[in-house]
């Protein structure tokens, strides 16, 4: 797998994603500077990592969504290329309108860092192909703006399109308010575009890809992408 991780000023999970991808699935990963206009040839996966791009000063992800590299990423996504946005990366993808909805301040208006359980709602995507439907993954969240929101009609639409890939849940997979850490609509933790090749999620798979870090479940997402690519999967 040839992956690149975009580095914006203020990104702070870029090295973590690179470490995780290169150790877990032996991916050939490079860092890609936000001012670039092109992606490296034969890129299999683009990751927009977590962090505080531009300090999150205007609105999380809003400035990064206008960076030069985003045009290249849009073109790449239109051509079916795999794009994954984690945390701030998810915020950037919504700001760039590559994904529906928006991420607002957590319900308690505080930063929340804790281990969470999420349930896989779809297993037919490149990012979840190795999972079982309903499988529960443990991955940490760490954000101040992670409340996924979209107007009721749009929500209906993404539900109808089956665009919800992950939902916050209890350890046994049940979904309720208690298991919703940030007040996200419908416990949504991750959504995919209609084409099925652009995924955004708030939990950090790269922080849960090694046994020593308390969970390896995030690694299943890297495994899924690797096996999807191996099978020559297209979206």
């Amino acid at each position: 797998m040839k992956a690149c991780v975009v580095v914006f000023p203020g990104s702070n999970c870029d090295r973590d994603v690179i470490h995780s991808l290169s150790t877990r699935v032996k991916a050939n990963v490079s860092a890609l500077w936000y001012e670039e206009h092109k992606l490296p040839q034969d890129t299999d996966l683009v990751v927009l990592p977590g962090g505080f791009s531009y300090g999150d000063y205007l609105r999380c992800g809003a400035m990064a969504a206008t960076a030069p590299i985003l045009n290249a990423i849009k073109g790449y996504a239109e051509g079916g290329g795999l794009v994954l946005g984690i945390c701030n990366g998810f915020q950037i993808l919504t700001e760039a309108r590559l994904l529906p909805g928006a991420l607002l301040a957590n319900k308690n208006l505080k930063f929340i860092c804790r281990q969470c359980a999420v349930r896989a709602e779809r297993t037919d995507t490149p990012f979840t192909s190795n999972l079982q439907t309903g499988q529960v993954l443990k991955m940490p969240i760490a954000h101040h703006e992670g409340l996924y929101f979209l107007p009721p009609n749009d929500l209906k639409q993404i539900l109808a399109n089956k665009q919800v890939v992950f939902r916050y849940c209890n350890n046994d997979g049940t979904i309720d308010d208690k298991s919703n850490p940030n007040g996200s609509v419908d416990n949504i933790a991750g959504v995919i575009n209609k084409g099925g090749n652009v995924l955004g999620l708030m939990p950090h798979p790269e922080r849960a890809s090694e046994k020593i870090l308390g969970s390896e479940d995030g690694g299943l997402i890297w495994d899924s992408i690797a096996s999807w690519l191996k099978k020559g999967g297209r979206c």
Binding site: P9, G10, N12, D16, F52, K110, F111, L213
Partner: protein
Amino acid sequence: MNYKAVGLREEEYQAIKELLGREPNESELRILGVMWSEHCSYKSTRPLLKMFNSEGKYVIQGPGENAGIVDIGDGWAAAFKVESHNHPSAVEPYQGAATGVGGIIRDILAVGAWPTACLDGLFFGKTPRNSTLSLMDGIVSGIGGYGNAVGVPTVGGKTFFDDSYEGNPLVNAMCVGIVSQEKIITSKTAKAGQLAVLIGSRTGRDGIAGAAFASAELAEDTKSSKPQVQIGDPFVEKLLIECCHELLREKLIASMQDMGAAGITSSASEIAAKSGTGIYIYADKVPTRDENMTPWEIALSESQERMLVIIEPENYERVEKCAQKWLLECAPIGEVTDDGRFKIINNGKTVVDLPAEMVGGGCPEIHWPSQKPAYLESIETERAYTLPQDAFRDICLSIISDPNVKDKSWIYEQYDHTVQINTVVGPGNPVSVIRVKENNKFLALTMDCAPWSCWLDPYNGGAESFLKAARPLWACGAEILGMTDCLNYPSPESPENYWILTETVRGLAQTAKDMDCPVVSGNVSLYNESPGKKILPSPLVGLVGLLETMEEFLPSGELEEGDVLFLVGPKKGFLAGSLFQRLLDKSIQGKPAQYTPTAEISFKERALRTAKDKCCSSVRVIGSGGLVTAIAKECVFAQKGASINLKSEHLVPEVLFGEGGPRAIYSVKPDKIAIFEHIWQDFGLLKIGTVQKEKTLEFLGLSSFSLLEITSCWRR
């Protein structure tokens, strides 16, 4: 201008005139007023700090640089330091705490290390008044707001609650960084002819003379001190870290200093003094944020997120290009000379001309009068406490729900503690553990303090402050590499306060030395008092230990069903200053734990062997709240019950609620009891119960609690 207006004492002013052979001009006086303040010069505590031993087999760099550095093997090193930001946090909690984190991260950056983990020591008022709650809220958000954005995980720390900290909150931030031993940067390596370059934020009027502000008691109206508080910008700090590391990788940096207290003045004069050179700063070349700043304002501004980098002149373009890449201001603001002078030149005119050594190092020491406080003579030491059986239950629940014991997740969940993917054991545990990717080893980190013991018995309280931080490291199986400390005290100008300060430092220094732990860095914060109120003596200790592998790590809170619970160490702890005693008496009374070096060394050796021999599932050193609290916490974390069966002679407050001394509970695997008993024989060993499936914690002969009841008391 009068010397008193800049906070200098008469003898200091005389010393200045003598050293200069003339009267200082206004700018010079303002600069010396800040540089010779307590905060910058350590003039009151320098004689005391000499008591600390800073040598040891792992020490690469002791005190005097931006951070202490210890060897962690394979050519790698850990740099660490703790620093206070107490006064600013009292005035403007969010920014005060945030810039405290920013400052300590830059200290670690300045030695060339990558900032890898932060810990925080927080001290708050206990009574939940609105003022205390808003300070707490602001300080916690400030630490999170800064650390989270910079991408340095806050992996642990310690929080204390006592009403002596009301209005005088303490914020002590510690940072640990990893650096290749070959790439350590010092302030000693500047050479004449090199260029001084300022990288980072523009210089504004924020925080001018903040160091002098931190060296006096807080005014009644803390709002009048607002201009002395700096404003932090974690985004710029993050860019600064990336930029400096890129410059380091390209080997463009000859020497480097962060700009903290006293800004350009302290960073530039320190490099010159340590390198044995001079330095000229051109004030008009410093990019400013405000208009019409005077040269001394520029020289003393404490604007955040700035680094002073010393480079070869021919490399300037490359440095500038790198700074531009990271969206940072960059300006050549001075040059290193061979004349030993610290000069500030503005538009061709020399406005400050001082010997570089005198700026940072010239301040004479102050030997404050010292007198044993009268209250120590009148402390009642012989009071006996009884434990009525019907009161046991209520006392237990009060202790478990005391803020000093209670769950702190509401604090640490606001901190990103998992970024950089190294956090193996995070906050909420007695020891935090981070993985070092560079050499596949692990650092075990603790932070602790025994303020109540320090008040009752300063020497032994100082000792206990070290031991409280050390015992959990030994218990988890880590070897201690070094210590950093933050000495938080009220004004040294009161003879009683100075006596307490001296005695606690003596106890702390002696214990660290006996336990083979070098003190490699630290910070002093005095004058922590406001009208009518002063803090308890609070020497906060931060320790860094090494674990070769996680195989040898013994965790806490991992009780296994069927395990046998043992208490090791003296059966009785001390009630003086304990949570039990404070709750009962509503004051601090008695004689606390007395430091016994042989017992501590014996505990250390046995604890390390216990972890290595893998005969236990879990360990918890007995701390705040005593044995009962330690067992309750083990049960809550493991979500297992326990049945505690003590002889009636042991159902006394000293056993159940006593604190201090080398005492711990071990959860021993049933088939490994013989090994465990062999390790601990002749030390003090008592079988106290078993871990059970049933989710109750029962103290036979006293009372029984459901796990749910304890958990809900303990959680907020």
